[in-house]
Subunit: 133 residues, 2 copies
Amino acid sequence: MKSFKKELKKYCIYPSYHRIKVIEYLAKHKTHPTVDIIYQELLKEIPTLSKTTVYNTLKLFVEKGIVLVLAIDKNELRYDYNTIPHAHFKCEKCGGIYDIEIPEIESLIRLKDFKVIEFHLYIKGICKKCLTF
Amino acid sequence: MKSFKKELKKYCIYPSYHRIKVIEYLAKHKTHPTVDIIYQELLKEIPTLSKTTVYNTLKLFVEKGIVLVLAIDKNELRYDYNTIPHAHFKCEKCGGIYDIEIPEIESLIRLKDFKVIEFHLYIKGICKKCLTF
DNA sequence: ATTCTTGCAAATCATTTGCACTTTA
DNA sequence: TAAAGTGCAAATGATTTGCAAGAAT
């Protein structure tokens, strides 16, 4: 198993117990969880955990660039530790979010007048599972 | 000038005065305005306008499919009347949102397990204007 | 007359902030 | 002990909702 202590240090993030637990959770559960899901799950292990700490931690992770934030739906942010560029598909029926492989899309778009920092491709629809049932 | 009365009827939307004004504003100002911008601007012409009506109207427009909603940033929704598929670029410095032409991206992505309903491509960075100054 | 639209005020809910307490180097 | 991390409680702010009054056919 990867050393998340070192991983955090690499990003100039002090590796406190809570922070290690959060990044571990994100690395283990690549389900694009919300703050609340992460909080509820970690609460089982850390009964004193506060949601503010989860918010603080994730905000710091996003600022330092170790974690990506997805605004795929307006009313809840989701967090993603996957570093390989990919798109996201959200099923409108079951709410599940899937990773989608993408080719070199950036090179296909005329972006000569812009300096690109972030690239988000969100697709919404119905997943196979929900289509069959 | 286009008849927005007919345009709304085509989408089974009763063309009330307020609704015509909102769709007219979106058609004239393709700047992806927020609810608040639309409200503030229309208030100059319609002093009795309420923000709830703007919310109701835009919600209806999105449901009926005449207008697209952009969740490019978490804390404010933006609305778009442009019907030609395109991507959006947001400048992190000046906050401006630009339309970007896109080629046939959908055909390049493996989506055989999904039924696509919506397709959103958001790019963030710095625009030319902000880079030079 | 009935159905649809409008709009005020209150509610909601994810996220942020102020501040005091605790931990770490 | 100074700096950083944690967490409660309150604040914020965009959006939604309940409901009563007004407008359209």
